[in-house]
């Protein structure tokens, strides 16, 4: 479903990705691991359509649709979801108001009507319960004053409500204690589905103790340099990234 072909990306004239190839099939959970600065977050942002990222060559296809021709909100409505490493704080916008706007925007693009308030509230309440999110928190302004764990759980809540076709999780494990990590992992596992693809970006193996990947890619210097199964993550945890980082220099 996701095909990234020979992708090269520069940010402010600085090349970050150079000829990256990657594919994620429906039902597949792929992990991307790599050292800091290898371009993992850039890949996540480019898939989501962040401005200021200049694609100098290559293509990104989702279900036969050229994502690079779509605006970020169009990509989202086609099924791309990015869970942010650092979710953005938006003062003055109640979290609940934001959730409703997001869900309804997605529904409208599918030709469905807006959710009624009781229906919306029921969905939010159910999804929040599993993620141990207090409804009181959802009345506060979006991400403002939330702890790191609260922000990440809210990202997973949004993903649960939106039910994306492709979920990209950018360092969702960073800043989480072990309990929060388990809650977040359970949330991701609950969404695993033969029709959905996951791209999980992480620096450490510890998230993959709770979410078993189908595929593990190693990224270094803006490219995928190795691909394997879950055992590759274990090997990386033991030996570090030095072998891969050195290879491409």
């Amino acid at each position: 479903m996701l095909e990234v072909k020979n992708l090269s990306v520069s940010v402010h004239g600085q090349p970050i990705l150079g000829g990256l190839n990657l594919s994620v099939k429906a039902g597949e959970l792929a992990a991307i691991m790599g050292p800091n600065g290898s371009g993992k977050s850039t890949l996540a942002y480019v898939i989501a359509g962040k401005p200021d990222y200049e694609v100098t060559s290559g293509e990104i296809w989702l279900d036969g649709e050229n994502l690079l021709e779509l605006e970020p909100d169009e990509r989202a409505r086609k099924g791309v979801f990015l869970a942010f490493q650092y979710p953005i704080e938006i003062p003055g916008v109640a979290t609940m108001t934001f959730l409703k706007a997001a869900l309804n925007a997605q529904r409208r693009s599918r030709g469905e009507g807006d959710l009624t308030t009781p229906d919306f509230m029921r969905r939010v309440r159910e999804a929040s319960k599993a993620l141990k999110i207090d409804m009181e928190m959802l009345r506060r302004p979006l991400n403002v004053g939330f702890s790191g764990g609260e922000k990440k759980r809210l990202e997973v809540l949004q993903m649960t409500l939106i039910q994306p076709r492709l979920a990209v999780l950018d360092e969702t494990d960073s800043g989480l204690d072990i309990d929060a990590l388990r809650v977040v992992a359970d949330g991701v596992n609950a969404l695993r589905d033969p029709s959905r693809g996951f791209l999980i970006i992480t620096h450490y193996q510890r998230l993959l103790d709770h979410i078993t990947p189908d595929t593990v890619h190693v990224m270094a210097n803006g490219r995928i340099v190795a691909t394997g199964g879950p055992e590759l993550a274990v090997e990386l945890e033991r030996n570090g990234y030095s072998a891969y980082a050195a290879e491409t220099v």
Binding site: P51, D73, I88, G92, V93, Q106
Partner: protein, 427 residues
């Protein structure tokens, strides 16, 4: 020749003729003195420091003819329009062209009354205050008696009636007695693009009085010049807010004196500017007594080639110890040609005070817009959400649910009209 001969601009000459043609009214000593104060100074130019960003003499090519007293037909027409408007509070007063129309107004709730007398002479040193004092034909004085507690707002509708170029003058005086509590909302409405409006309001708060006051400027008036003169005695509290979404050129000036100990003010506003409109808020807050608290919180959204101005001066006089003052002005510019002038000032002559000010001018945060868009929210809607949040934080300080709700509805209507308006690069 008289001393008036030194005045040169067309508008100034017309104003002199208009005042002299008022006959008996012009001969009242209070109005004559006020007009003399105006005539000595003339229309302010940018050389007057407090008018630096609004060159009124240049902007006012001429003074429009004085609006006539409304006739029966005009009163009936306004009456029908007013009936359609949702009432904001307990009672409504309707003024047409600056004159209170009793037939369209409600009787006020117990504890409040319209009093038949002229407004008090004003000691504010500003030519436009003097002009409005001299030219206003019928002062509207509302008194809230000592200890009265009025929960629901009293609405004052200032309606313009008549076609083409007109000058309107109005003068309100709101006097809140000791320990009394009341809230008022003044709405300026109905003026067309050739109307020049001069509005004067004095708010006088006796000891321990609490007043909430909101102003809405929503019509397409050419010129909206409004002066608010506020005096607070000991322990009095004022919360005053203004939503400005109309007017080609608007200038709101506030002169606040905190005369008694431990008085409290919270001033705020939201200016919504598009096209080539100009809006200027200039305020002066004087702490004359110890233990006072002042908060100013103003926000502006400026689009197209519009320009906003905020000038705030807080003066803490010698002896006003333990003053606690904080002033903030924030603006979002939505277009590269939009402009905001912010000039906060503090003058402190007491040594034991806590005072601060801050001003920010920026654009919408692209990171916030991107985040919303990654959830499927279209760009226009994402921008509207952020603008609504930005303005909403100013409105929420009104601390009166009925008033805040009405202000929010006007604000949303402005945001919605922004989406409908053709802008550059968008057909």
């Amino acid at each position: 020749m008289t001393a008036h001969a030194v005045l040169r601009s067309n508008a100034e000459s017309t104003l002199i003729k208009q005042f002299e043609a008022q006959g008996e009214l012009a001969r009242s000593p209070q109005r004559a003195a006020a007009f003399k104060r105006f005539a000595e100074r003339g229309l302010p130019t940018r050389r007057v420091e407090s008018w630096h960003y609004t060159d009124l003499r240049a902007a006012m090519a001429d003074a429009a003819p004085l609006a006539p007293a409304p006739d029966r037909t005009a009163i009936e027409t306004v009456g029908r329009a007013v009936k359609e408007r949702k009432k904001l509070g307990a009672a409504r007063l309707v003024l047409i062209n600056g004159r209170l129309i009793e037939g369209l107004s409600d009787s006020l709730p117990a504890g409040a009354a319209v009093v038949s007398r002229d407004g008090q002479p004003l000691a504010v040193d500003d030519p436009m205050v003097a002009l409005a004092e001299a030219m206003s034909r019928a002062d509207c004085v509302v008194e809230v008696s000592d200890g009265a507690e009025i929960d629901e707002p009293i609405e004052i509708l200032h309606i313009a009636s008549g076609d083409g170029a007109l000058s309107l003058y109005s003068r309100m005086e709101i006097v809140v007695g000791a320990g009394a509590r009341a809230s008022f909302v003044e709405t300026f409405s109905g003026a067309g693009p050739a109307v020049q409006r001069h509005a004067l309001a004095t708010l006088t708060l006796a000891e321990g009085a609490r007043l909430k006051h909101a102003v809405v400027v929503e019509d397409r008036v050419e010129l909206h010049l409004e002066s608010q003169i506020v005096d607070l005695e000991a322990g009095a509290e004022l919360n005053a807010f203004a939503l400005v979404s109309g007017g080609t050129l608007s200038r709101r000036q506030l002169f606040v004196r905190m005369l008694g100990d431990k008085a409290k003010i919270a001033l705020g506003g939201l200016a919504l500017l598009d096209g080539s409109r100009r809006a200027d808020t200039t305020l002066q807050v004087v702490h004359s007594a110890p233990g006072g608290t002042s908060r100013e919180f103003y926000r502006a959204i400026v689009d197209d080639e519009a320009a906003g101005t905020f000038q705030g001066k807080v003066i803490v006089e010698n002896g006003a110890q333990k003053t606690d003052g904080a002033m903030k002005s924030q603006a979002i510019l939505l277009s590269p040609r939009a402009q905001m002038n912010a000039k906060p000032e503090l003058e402190i002559f007491a040594d034991d005070v806590v005072c601060g000010h801050g001003a920010t001018i920026g654009s919408l945060d692209p990171e916030q817009i991107f985040y919303l868009r990654t959830r499927g929210v279209p760009k226009d809607e994402a921008e509207a959400m952020l603008l609504e949040a930005f303005g909403g934080e100013a409105i929420e300080r009104v601390e009166d649910e009925a008033l805040a709700g009405a202000l929010r509805a006007s604000f949303r209507a402005w945001l919605a009209s922004r989406g409908d308006r053709p802008t550059e690069g968008r057909a």
